[in-house]
Symmetry: C2
Subunit: 229 residues, 2 copies
């Protein structure tokens, strides 16, 4: 309801000012994608902050560019998640490290392949990225994970000093097909200072991207005998 009101207000505001991109924003699916979660807050902030139509226009284009960019890298991480299962390397999890808009490494869970319970997608991606860039500090990098990181991976992301984390599926989607169960508690860190005080931007995908990322588990559970029920 609140979203619908905001949606109407934004639409009429854009229309009143005859901003050229109005067609883009009235496109139903794109518009909805823009008006959920953080994007809604971002748009609201924009509307309150900027006074000139020109600024609004360019800022909205910028927001769209960030969204498109995030979707691109997140989809790459999701592709990796499928690859992990197809190759029999490990569970359906993928992660991509990005530096200056370029993919540094694109990795997936390698637990079985490496006989290493710590070779989760994110940990593997961090290791590989550090090796490739020849440094332990990734403070100029972002990590895209197909699923919300477990506490081990979340800590590894912090140790690498990554500046930004974008993830697709919520941990519960993985737990639903048998990952973690009672051993690894999905919300262990949520609500604790450890998570809240993390010195990085954390963005959870919304809309279609979140759905695509969560579908990985349903689509792979039969190919992954250890965790299927």
């Amino acid at each position: 309801m609140a979203e619908s009101m905001a949606c109407k207000k934004v639409l009429s505001w854009i229309k009143d000012r005859g901003i050229p991109s109005v067609d883009l924003y009235t496109d139903c699916s794109n518009f909805r994608a823009l008006l959920v979660g953080d994007s809604l807050r971002f748009l609201t902030t924009l509307l309150l902050t900027f006074k000139s139509d020109e600024n609004i226009h360019s800022s909205m284009e910028e927001a769209n560019a960030v969204q498109d960019r995030d979707h691109k890298f997140l989809r790459r991480a999701v592709e990796e998640a499928y690859k992990a299962v197809e190759c029999g390397h490990g569970g359906p999890f993928g992660a991509v490290v990005v530096c200056n808009d370029e993919v540094v490494v694109s990795c997936h869970n390698m637990v079985f392949n490496n006989t290493d319970p710590t070779a989760h997608a994110e940990v593997t991606a961090i290791r590989e990225a550090c090796k490739k860039l020849n440094r332990v500090n990734l403070s100029d990098c972002e990590i895209y994970a197909s699923c919300e990181p477990c506490p081990m991976c979340f800590s590894a992301i912090q140790f690498s000093q990554m500046k930004r984390l974008v993830y697709g599926a919520k941990a519960e989607a993985a737990i639903a097909i048998g990952f973690g169960s009672d051993r690894i508690i999905a919300d262990a860190l949520r609500g604790t200072t450890f998570y809240q005080k993390a010195n990085l931007e954390i963005k959870r995908a919304d809309g279609n991207e979140a759905i695509i990322a969560e579908q990985v588990f349903e689509n792979t559970k039969d190919k992954f005998p250890i965790h299927s029920k």
Copy 2:
């Protein structure tokens, strides 16, 4: 005061029954080592549980054997912590994986050597042990860590399904010389269900062993330029 009373009671109880090991327990340093923390609770439980002198005697010997064994492996982990700094491989942290009373691997922090921010002592030890034993499940193993594991290592220990964790120094001792600071919060997991529901026995060293493990940080801080102040 409570300990002193318990101490006197136990001593007189042992003397009254003429248990052969009485000399061992009246030895001041050993006796104190037995009467702190978990050991005191263990001894009290023994006194309440067993009725025959023979049972008490053998159970006490068993408790001593466990203590000696733990000290032996913990000291090995502490030696590794010193080695990490001496070799310039990484921070002063060591970890030993034990299976059936035998050391499987004895490792230390390799962050600098491997250019890998995830190569903490425990994670390294788990990886190496899995490689050596050719399996990802270490449920028949124990891990001895020179210092309380960080959240990444603690999660890795859980993923490997380790049955027991024994650690020396408290995390605060590492933080005091600059490890972690505000990025990695030592007590992040303490008091949360993640830590409390961990499906493994967790033992913190007490007495002399804890002191020896905590001294690592004071003794190495000058040789470890990144973290010395």
